[in-house]
Every structure is written in structure tokens, then in C-alpha cells.
Symmetry: C2
Subunit: 362 residues, 2 copies
């Protein structure tokens, strides 16, 4: 009987609510397979800062170090509240980025996926979204502007300035390129490489390395596309993309645009994979405005569980079951409020009811 | 009788074709007003590189220095062809960025505008796009990653790397903030400030200065929104935005996403304004694949003429007339191929016919 330690970082805002539904799914999966999950809730984010004085406390680091996989809820406060925490201890800089760096989770998989039955959720017209969309965004997660040196200062004339560094080396690019080509070769054998080589020298190197790695994947076609053009075409014709690879900041922006074309960021789970450790998280924020109201969409959190089952625990079939269970809830006409616009005939249910229906469908 | 010198930089790809239609409009405007336009075509971009060995030759610099305003076509080659030019002489790095720097055109106005009658061009559903969209994106154009120091090298271990700098100081931020607040106070009195302050220290300074400048505009409400969230909401609910201000790279990406939600980048003119000089350009590329075929949409180029009439030549009424004339062509059911999808009942016309119809409507 397999035994897995799983660290659960509830996070802030809607985190605890959607984590609760994810845990239900984990428990059911454990029950009907020959596995036990040792689930360890541990503080992380702004809530951890207020409880223990640090957004990524030592105890949490220890739990994560020892875990077989980490499931993380969204973190962050609204613009005003975040001013209550010193800049470097805010949950993004003080917890999330250190988590990514600690486990060197360089490969961020962000599926932009809407099966045919859910295509009506998209803000895009039927003739654009067609039978849905199925893109895998692969974002480099531990390099670039996010982790470059930063200098804040004042010139002799009293002018405040900030200087920060966008840095990539060929090894960082090569390892994410391999992940991208591997993924593309298992899918449609086309890799869209997103860059800005007409301005950024880092993109020039990026593109060179992409082409070098591409030589080992002769069956995968590389399509180079500028990041700005990619932003246009994600709206005009998302169907032209299958696997997209890009550096950290571009990935942040385009994946959230991806959430936009799905109809809700609540449909965006993700996997953050390093060579030795992986963690899983919704790619959206903590939505402080709707926290505690039992209305958040737990899809992104439960989808992150599915990705964990697939990538970290070798339970691919159960991963598929979880996806199907969630889609069947939508197919039955139910959804959380983010996807049930006034006037549509979607039947609105709350966070907990969504989780219960997923369990029932499983 | 006023006399204006106007530098015309045709550019690459579809540039000359769409410039031709813009010139027709300029000639008509001159004819019926008490003005003469001294139109000086001068080489710029990849075509200038091949003709004269430099993408922004001295003669062009001179013509631009002496011009009252500059009208610029799109520049650039496709991915493969651009490899024929040394990296630093490629038209973006060798001509466009130097043009922006030379005239310090820090304020880039990019209207994302689709009036009610054209709302059907949007890929967004009727319930999302509503009665069209009217956003003014204000992009800082001469700072940030675009102009920061860049270092390309190889470590002792033979690993290639690139390091580039994103830099802003408070003066750069303050002047674009003023432009943004001035614009917002003439419109709906809401300014969406786009940032990434949870990761970038430059955004922390950016937001501080925005709030400082905001004190002089007590009637303008500031809404801070993360760049990733903005990318989501531009798809889900563009109507929530009126004036948006952001740094250079974010502006590049979000404005092209804006072109996406309009239905075509061909609907994106722009104005690039400095304290002493301004230039006007479509915000899209040179579309080498359709160059020379007389099918490109000249709207962005003629719209750039309209912006030039308004911002540089004080001819606001003629600017409005040009906008209306273009919209009437669409309203009559005509459009270039970028906006006439197979099966729609838009009557397809070519570049020249579009220009002729604009002239007729004027
Ligand atoms: C919270 C923030 C630091 C984070 C990021 O920018 O990576 C988030 O937006 C994401 O996309 O995971
Ligand atoms: C051609 C390129 C350098 C330019 C930019 O990135 O600014 C273009 O994309 C634009 O948006 O004007």
C-alpha cells in the first residue's frame, strides 16, 4: 500500500474554501485506491504572516521539504490590505517566489482547456471558440525578471529610481525547452515559441536555444511568434495554438489571458515542476472580495489535484476521472457564479455543492 | 495659409500600400482647408537597410528633424528574413527604437475603439462587447526593458547568458502619469493603473508616483490592477476600462490584445508624443505575408493621420471627419479581408477601394 505525504498550503482569501473541496476529492481517491494520503495543512501566505510573522514559516518549509507533493491555494491580499505588510514579506515576494526557488520548479504547466461541452462559457463567439480550446502553456517559472537582481535608490539629485534585471542563461532555457518539446511531441507536434526577439536580447538567446534543442525533435515543428502577436491571436484564433512555451513574465500575462478566453480564471489549475519536487496551484489570485462566501469555483483547485495525481503520484487514470467528474457537473448544467451569467440557463451552485457533485460523479 | 512639413516613412511590407491611402486623405484635407502639406517620403526600416545600408539613414533623420510631424508605416521582416540583417541593424532595434529615443516620444496613445456599428467585428460575444468598446491605452514608450542596458556573454564555464535591465525613475513615471490623468479627466475620470507590484520593484515605484500625481487630480479615481488580471478582464469585460496607463512592455502586449478584441490589428492606429515632436504609426507589424497584394486594411494608417491632425496640427474637426468617413465605409457593409470572415455578409474590398471610399465619404 503506497503512502504519500502531501503538504496542503491553504493560502489566503478563497484558499481554505476551495482547498476543502480538493481534500474531499483526495480522500475519495485514497479510499478507492491502494494508497493513503497523509495530508498536512500548514500556514502559507498573508495569513501565515499574520499568524506566525512570516508568510513562508520554517515549519511550512519543513513540511514541504518532507512532502511527496505540495498542493497550494491562492495567496495575496487586495491592494490596500497588502500595504499592511512590509514589501519583502508580502506573500508573493515572501512566500510564493521563495517556494518556487526553493524547489526550483522551473516548468509551469498551465492548461487552457475548455472541452466542447463547456465552450459556451467562453466570452469568444461560437465561430471563434469552435469546439472549445485545448492549449498547454508552458511557462518558465524560476528565471527572468522575477528572480533578477533589483536595485532601488535615489540619485544625487534626489530622483528615485528602480533597476531590475531580466536574466536567462542557456541552461535555464534548455531545460524548459526540453519540457516543451517533450510535451509537443506527445500532442500535435507543433510548438509555438513565444518571444520578443526584435527588442529583447534575452529572446534572441532564447530562440537560439529553442532551435538547438529542436534539432533533437525533428518531428516537432517550431513556430516562432512575437508575444504581442500571440496576445492578438489568443483572442482572434486560439485554435491555432497547441503547446506554447515562454519566459516567466510573458507566461504570467498570456496564461491569465488564457483564463479570460475560458470565461473564468477559476478554470485555471496548474502544475509547477522541478527535477526533485513539484507543487500544484490554481493560477489565479485569492479573490479577497468573495472570500468566505462559499461562492468561489473550486475547479482550479480540484484540477490541480488532478495534475498532482498525474505528474507526481503516477495515478493517471484517477486524474482523468477527476477531470471527467468536474466536466460532468458542468454538463449537467451546474456551475459556480463566476460562470453563470445572469440570464444564462446555468444553474448556480456554491463551492461546497460543486465539490459534492464532483464527489458524486466520481 | 499654414504650411506643414510632414515626413512620410513608408516602412516595410504593407507599409507603402497603406501609406498611399493615407496620403490621399492628407491631400484632400489640405485641399479643402487653408493648409499645405509638404509631404516628404524618406526611407526607413528594413527596406532602408537594403537600399542605403542603414534602417534609419541620416537623410531620414534630417527630414524628421525638420518635419512638423512624422507619419510612419509598419516596419519589420518575417522571422527568417530578419536573419539577413545583423541583429543591431534590424529595423526594430536599428530604426524604430532610435526614432522613439531621438524624439523622446514617451507618451504612446493606443485607442482600442470599436463603435456600436462595428461591434460585430469583435471576436467577443454580443453580451460581452455590448455597444462596442472605447478604451485609451496610454503606454510609456521610451523606458523600461526596451531601453535598458543589455549584456550578452559567456561565463567561464562556457554558458551563454543575457542580462538586460528594466529601469524607471520617478521623472519618467511622473510625465506619463500626467498625460494619463489629463486624458482620464477629459473622459470618464477613472484611470486604470496597470502594474505588477507584487513582483516588480519598478511597479512599486510606479504605483507610488501614480498616487502622488493623482493628488493633483482629485476628481480622477485610480484603479490599480495587476497586468495579469488586466489581460483576463480585457477578454471578459473590456467595458470596465476607460483609460489605462502602463509601462512599455506591458503596453506592447496589452495593446495588441486590444487589437485582438477589436477583431483586427488593422484597427489600431497610434500616436507617439514627445514634448517637442510626435510621430504616428499603426501599432501592428508589416505583415510580409500579404504585402503587395492590395488587401491590407489602411484603417490604422488613416487613423494615424486622424490622430496627427488632432494632436500635432490642431485640426480636430477634420480628425473627427476622417474617423467618421472610415466608420461610414464599414457601416455601408464594406471591409478589407481581415474583417470579412467567410460567411459573413461583409462585402470585401481591397486597400485602394477602402481608401477611395473614405475619400468619397469625406
Ligand atoms: C501571485 C504572482 C506572484 C504570480 C506570478 O506572477 O507568477 C501569479 O500571478 C501567477 O501567475 O502564478
Ligand atoms: C516593432 C516593435 C519593436 C514594437 C514594440 O514592441 O514597441 C511594436 O510591437 C509596437 O507595439 O509598436
Amino acid at each position: 500500500m503506497s503512502h504519500y505525504k502531501i503538504a496542503l498550503l491553504d493560502g489566503d482569501g478563497i484558499g481554505p474554501e476551495i482547498m476543502r473541496e480538493a481534500v474531499k476529492v483526495l480522500n475519495l481517491v485514497a479510499e478507492r485506491n491502494q494508497v493513503t494520503f497523509d495530508l498536512q495543512h500548514t500556514p502559507f501566505g498573508a495569513s501565515a504572516y499574520f499568524e506566525c510573522g512570516h508568510p513562508f514559516p520554517e515549519q511550512t518549509q519543513k513540511v514541504c521539504d518532507e512532502a511527496d507533493a505540495i498542493l497550494k491555494g491562492p495567496i495575496g491580499l487586495n491592494h490596500e490590505d497588502s500595504k499592511k505588510i512590509p514589501v519583502d514579506l508580502q506573500p508573493e515576494r515572501g512566500a510564493l517566489l521563495p517556494l518556487r526557488r526553493r524547489y526550483n520548479t522551473y516548468a509551469n504547466f498551465r492548461p487552457v482547456f475548455l472541452p466542447q461541452g463547456l465552450a459556451h462559457f467562453s466570452p469568444l463567439k461560437k465561430e471563434i471558440i469552435g469546439d472549445g480550446v485545448d492549449i498547454m502553456i508552458i511557462r518558465e517559472l524560476v528565471g527572468g525578471l522575477y528572480f533578477g537582481e533589483k536595485e532601488t535608490g535615489t540619485t544625487e539629485d534626489g530622483v528615485r529610481y528602480v533597476r531590475e534585471t531580466l536574466e536567462y542563461d542557456e541552461e535555464q532555457i534548455r531545460r524548459i525547452a526540453k519540457v516543451a518539446f517533450d510535451t509537443a511531441s506527445k500532442r500535435k507536434k507543433v510548438l509555438h515559441n513565444i518571444h520578443k526577439s526584435n527588442v529583447l536580447k534575452s529572446s534572441v538567446l532564447w530562440n537560439e536555444v529553442i532551435e538547438e534543442v529542436g534539432k533533437d525533435y525533428p518531428d516537432v515543428k517550431i513556430e516562432h511568434i512575437l508575444v504581442d502577436a500571440a496576445a492578438t491571436y489568443l483572442c482572434l484564433n486560439p485554435g491555432r495554438f497547441d503547446v506554447m512555451v515562454m519566459e516567466n513574465m510573458f507566461g504570467d500575462i498570456l496564461s491569465d489571458q488564457g483564463g479570460g478566453i475560458l470565461g473564468s480564471l477559476g478554470l485555471m489549475p496548474s502544475a509547477c515542476i522541478g527535477d526533485d519536487k513539484a507543487y500544484y496551484e490554481p493560477s489565479h489570485g485569492s479573490a479577497p472580495d468573495i472570500a468566505g462566501k462559499n461562492v468561489a469555483n473550486p475547479y482550479s483547485m480540484i484540477g490541480s489535484v488532478a495534475m498532482m495525481l498525474e505528474f507526481s503520484l503516477g495515478m493517471e487514470e484517477e486524474a482523468r476521472n477527476v477531470w471527467h467528474a468536474m466536466q460532468s457537473v458542468f454538463a449537467d448544467g451546474y456551475s459556480t457564479p463566476d460562470l453563470s451569467k445572469p440570464g444564462s440557463d446555468v444553474k448556480m451552485i456554491d463551492t461546497e455543492a460543486f465539490g459534492d457533485r464532483v464527489i458524486a460523479a466520481l
